[in-house]
């Protein structure tokens, strides 16, 4: 329907895009005209799928680098800035969860979830923002979660990490919006694929009962909202957490 594509000519970096929401975001961004670079850690096959799908629309690159590898992330960003000119859009998507109650949660579990979800967002943002500040433009979209804004029964380390993402989004928006850089957070409810897919049957039924639209979210519709949020036509939104949950 729209004649011009939302992200024409942009360079986007999406972390954790070998499957799930990240893969969908990479694909939609590519179809909206962006050159897409993405990271993955272990899933070679998923990453190939993402790469091939993105390349149907245009240039795309895959980097095997963990969000906790600061040096590797710096090298990737330098590579992109040299070869593609800039990183205009960063989506901090890489994230994990484990379904477990507090009593069974070990210190390593807590550290792993907080590290990948929060510290990874910090490290990647730091690497990318240097260039954005220099160019006085850029957009960061952090993938949060409904569990960060609503009282829901979910693993506490995951909830804490996503609440941290919301706080990080707000403070970072205040810090860098003076350079014309926008920072927002997209907070989905339960999706058809991703960290919520291991939810026990009775919990899913309970969730759907409380969801006004009566279904879980589709990756594609969340990815399309992500594309709008990072596009230039959404130039005045910053520091916000946008919830997409079908009315939970």
């Amino acid at each position: 329907m729209t004649a011009t594509r939302l992200l024409e000519g942009k360079v986007a970096l999406v972390t954790g895009a070998s499957r799930g929401l990240g893969q969908s975001i990479a694909r939609v961004f590519a179809s909206e005209g962006a050159r897409v670079a993405f990271t993955y850690t272990r899933d070679e096959q998923g990453s190939r799928t993402t790469l091939e799908t993105c390349r149907k629309s245009g240039d795309a690159r895959a980097f095997q680098v963990s969000v906790l590898d600061a040096a590797g992330t710096e090298t990737m960003v330098a590579d992109l800035e040299q070869n593609w000119g800039s990183v205009d859009i960063l989506v901090n998507n890489a994230g994990i969860s484990q379904n477990m109650p507090l009593a069974l949660m070990e210190e390593e579990d807590w550290d792993r979830v907080m590290d990948i979800n929060v510290k990874g967002t910090f490290l990647t943002s730091k690497a990318v923002l240097r260039g954005m500040i220099r160019r006085k433009q850029g957009v960061v979209l952090n993938i949060g979660s409904l569990v960060a804004v609503r009282m829901l029964e979910a693993p506490i380390h995951y909830c804490a990490s996503k609440a941290a993402i919301k706080g990080l989004t707000e403070a970072l928006a205040k810090e860098v919006s003076r350079y014309g850089i926008r920072v927002n957070c997209l907070a989905p409810g339960l999706l058809e694929d991703g960290v919520g897919r291991n939810l026990p049957e009775h919990r899913l039924a309970d969730y759907l009962k409380h969801c006004a639209l009566g279904r879980v979210g589709r990756l594609e519709e969340v990815a399309r909202l992500a594309a709008f949020l990072v596009s230039d036509v959404n130039g005045y939104m910053s520091g916000e957490t946008v919830v997409i949950d079908g009315g939970v």
């Binding site: 329907m1 729209t2 919006s177 036509v233 005045y236 910053s238």
Partner: protein, 255 residues
């Protein structure tokens, strides 16, 4: 994506209440530029209404005073009859600072707000939205998905030195749409609100200069919002959205 939920595949029919105002007319143009057929209402600004119907293919204008609930019901009924169906309802009709009916054009303090000014503010900014949404839900029941977008304000969701009756009228929308999303979700109505900060035009023009400076000091992006930026978000929620509902989306440049 199921066709019943996503409406971008063909030309959606969108109704814009208050379509001749600064924000409303930009919303009408943005929707039309994305292929929508636009019906809109106006109250006094007949010149703009003519301009829009001339410029936008298939656009239809109707005069509507949103303080008249019976007229809201009739007008929406006529639009549905004429267009066959309604895919999105957007309400841009509002009164702002000094618009509370007491003739003042300032930034009223509580002491200055008379009872009739309170009632007039809530009547236009809040009550009209309730009855418009109720009527569109009635008319479209069993006939597919509808996206509703209401114009809120950052004054209704964040602490700001605003006229209290204005803030209350906009804050009421944030509560109202949550309950509406719950009640109307099962029939396929998604309802959201866009809450802008201070804009370059529209109601924001009446903001006193000292408050404008204060706003710019606290606004991260250090500028006022563009009407087009509001219209883009409204148009996305009206024509592309399939799963956001009950949300008040703030557009204030990191205030």
């Amino acid at each position: 994506m199921e066709a019943s939920e996503r409406m971008t595949v063909d030309a959606p029919s969108c109704i814009v209440i208050g379509g001749s105002g600064i924000v409303g007319r930009t919303v009408c143009r943005t929707l039309a530029s994305r292929g929508a057929r636009v019906g809109f209402t106006f109250l006094k600004n007949e010149a703009v209404a003519h301009e829009l119907t001339a410029a936008l293919p298939g656009a239809v204008a109707r005069r509507l005073d949103v303080r008249d609930v019976g007229a809201i019901d009739r007008t929406l009924g006529e639009f549905v009859e004429q267009f066959g169906r309604i895919d999105a309802l957007i309400n841009c009709a509002a009164v702002g600072f000094g618009g509370g009916g007491n003739g003042s054009n300032g930034h009223e303090k509580m002491a200055d707000v008379a009872e009739d000014a309170w009632d007039a503010m809530l009547s236009v900014n809040t009550k009209a939205s309730f009855f418009a949404v109720r009527q569109i839900a009635n008319l479209m029941r069993g006939r597919g998905a509808v996206n509703v977008v209401l114009l809120g304000s950052v004054d209704g969701v964040k602490p700001a030195p605003a006229p209290v009756h204005y803030a209350a009228s906009k804050a009421a929308l944030a509560g109202m749409i949550k309950a509406m999303a719950k009640e109307l979700g099962p029939q396929g109505v998604r309802i959201n609100s866009v809450a802008p900060g201070v804009l370059e035009g529209g109601l924001s023009r009446t903001l006193p200069e000292d408050l404008r400076r204060e706003y710019l000091k606290h606004c991260g992006l250090k500028r006022l919002g563009k009407i087009e930026e509001v219209a883009s978000l409204v148009a996305w929620l009206a024509t592309e959205n399939t799963f956001v509902t009950g949300q008040t989306v703030i557009l204030d440049g990191a205030l």
